[in-house]
Symmetry: C2
Subunit: 418 residues, 2 copies
């Protein structure tokens, strides 16, 4: 069987399994996730063995220390996967929820019921924990899942998915509800991306290169985000202490992630005092600033920002700073240079807070809070399957509900159309 047939058969089986998974009770799905968690805990020795094979192969291939670190499984990380599955089991089940129901003049009762999407394809790199995390979310929401991890984690991913599949089999559920593509050839991904009849949604998780490859080659809808160029606007009325604390937290608490702040905008009326203050604080935290001419007037040690700095996702201890006329100029800057990820306003002005919340159409818009809260867990969705910065279907952090859709249900007593 060639790769094309192999991937297609695997996806056909997932599609068949999805029909069964869609009808499972919450109780059965929760039981499944609990057993998967138990299974991972019991399998620690064999998972560590498989992981060693990946690490050895990675060392042979000359992977960087950072790459190897992402690959490594230890008892704590396996425990983390098991805990994650138990947390997802504890989340409310979105499937079957009726989100509205109304009566038509002719007596028809019309409503919308939440149902699984069907088959979800996850394409990811290095970190083997995604196998369990994404698998758990897809199964809890009544979907089947086709997983395609990176070739560098193939032994670990195969071992984890085998443990998860065993629990499906033990409960006489279709093993094909969780499929792992073990063909490491990239052709397998290309074949997967063609299967629009079998797979309903693709979620790529990884660097911009992987995501662009998936988007460029997929016939299946893709939910993704490329970059996080997040902004904080410090308004004229801002509490300086709060603004400082929020800017520092948003930049340095974890600089390498997509919801870290990359550009701070400062109202011109407070520039003379706030610019030197934030420049000093950031320098003390080891952050390199790049500023507009007005910023540099009040903090001459700051380097000059170029046009590229306004669009940069540094993912590092670097921060762009710009002084703006007012709220409108700040919102124009965000609309022009932002990536529709997350923006925050620091203010004491009620009207400006209302305008910012209404008019800035990024996926997460905040007042007086750190951009670092733009995350499924932090916002209270439970676990997160990814973040979307495209507006179709989902916008922002995605939880279980985002792995479902809604159908119309209609209850009549013989109505016909006249």
């Amino acid at each position: 069987m060639n790769i094309s047939e192999q991937i297609r058969r695997l996806a056909d089986d997932a599609k068949m399994a999805a029909r069964r998974m869609a009808t499972l009770s919450t109780e059965v799905k929760n039981d499944l996730l609990q057993r998967m968690a138990d299974g991972l805990e019991k399998a620690v020795p064999s998972l560590l063995d498989a992981n060693e094979d990946d690490i050895a192969a990675g060392r042979d291939k000359g992977l960087s220390a950072a790459m190897i670190d992402r690959l490594v499984l230890d008892e704590k990380r396996i425990q983390g996967m098991a805990d994650g599955l138990r947390e997802v089991a504890a989340l409310p089940d979105p499937v079957g929820e009726v989100t509205g129901m109304w009566r038509r003049p002719n007596g028809l009762q019309v409503g919308r019921m939440r149902i699984p999407l069907g088959v979800i394809g996850i394409i990811y790199e290095s970190r083997p924990n995604v196998t369990a995390d994404a698998g758990g979310l897809c199964l809890k929401s009544g979907n089947a899942v086709v997983l395609r991890g990176g070739s560098e984690a193939i032994y670990s991913n195969t071992a984890i998915s085998t443990v998860l599949k065993e629990q499906l089999i033990a409960m006489t559920l279709p093993a094909a509800a969780l499929q792992m593509i073990t063909v490491t050839d990239r052709a397998a991904v290309l074949e997967m991306l063609k299967l629009e009849e079998q797979i309903d949604l693709i979620i790529p998780r990884g660097g911009e290169g992987l995501i662009r490859f998936v988007v460029d080659n997929s016939r299946i809808p893709v939910i993704k985000h490329y970059r996080g160029v997040c902004h904080i606007f410090v308004d004229a009325s801002a509490d300086f202490g709060m603004a400082e604390k929020i800017c520092v937290n948003a930049k340095i608490q974890r600089p390498g992630v997509c919801n870290a702040v990359e550009t701070i905008l400062i109202h011109k009326d407070i520039a003379e005092t706030f610019v030197p203050l934030i420049a000093e604080t950031m320098r003390n935290h080891g952050v390199e600033l790049r500023g507009c001419p007005v910023t540099r007037e009040f903090a001459p040690q700051v380097a000059e920002a170029s046009e590229e700095d306004w669009q940069a996702e540094y993912l590092d201890l670097v921060l762009a700073v710009r002084v703006v006329e007012d709220l409108d100029e700040a919102m124009d800057h965000i609309a022009r240079f932002g990536s529709m990820h997350t923006e925050s306003l620091v203010t004491r002005d009620y009207a400006n807070a209302q305008r910012f919340l209404r008019e800035v159409n990024s996926s997460t818009v905040m007042v007086n809070a750190s951009t670092r809260f733009a995350d499924g867990n932090q916002l209270g969705l439970g676990a997160e399957i990814g973040i979307s910065t495209t507006k179709l279907h989902s916008f922002g952090p995605m939880g279980l509900e985002d792995l479902t859709t809604r159908k119309y249900i209609v209850m009549g007593d013989g109505q016909i159309r006249s």
Copy 2:
């Protein structure tokens, strides 16, 4: 300026206009739609003149009588467009609705707010009323719209869009919020489908050929449906009178549309009596039947159905009939041959009704009602922009709400992440 630049500039302008449209109050948008309705009524003579040019050109090109009929505008059809705009003005505005709000343990208030999608592209054929109908829905939901009608209706579409644009200008709103592509070359559509930075969603309206062309060539998400292969399952416990009435209505009330029934499934326990009954009734209504072997046993005059009949969207007075073992076999048939459009069950059995509503994952699932109700107006959405049989973003008839998405809003008082 070449076609590529021309289309791109027009879409850039629409994107700029979309930011302004997103902030308009409901009152202003309703006023705009009312003025557009008034404007169309006042422009009847010039709209009829423009339409005559299209009809003359259509006759020269040898268009069929049916095609010409779709093109024709008369006073009644223009009144229909104006009335449609007033109906959309009267619908509730989805923008700004907060669909949920909760408090996190750290005091952050988190909610989801409905916002417009941005710029919506509509690609359609012949019927010039789509210009006003789709335009009104997109503007009411706070979006900008790029319209691309068929070349055969170019004079009518241009005249209608000019009237609509005049009202934007009269209210000092951006005229680019409603763009009409007047380049009749198909290259213009191809250019439009590349503009993923400017256009957020494409909705094609027309035959399967147009839709496939759009899907195959678009980098922008497309919401569409190809076909409507709708089913009715007449259960063992069905009230025969009700079943007959529903089947007849679903087949003959308007056979050429996507929510007309194409296959009737009949429970084996009632085949002996119900098959001859429905065969007789359908014959009296001029419907040609194609049946499975069991059907033909009880109604020998029925032609033999081939495998293709189970997948056929006849859009005509033809109906496939199959006798099945039970509810499970009926649901298997629907899953295998259906198009995820609309299915209805006729029954008196509570448990079967519950199972059908839960387990059949077509976009509209009914009990004891005609499939002809699968329509935005009939289901109570107000007007309809289209129907989706793909699950992402929208599934089923689409109203104003489906032209929006939701962002997260977060209100804090200085929270930072620890």
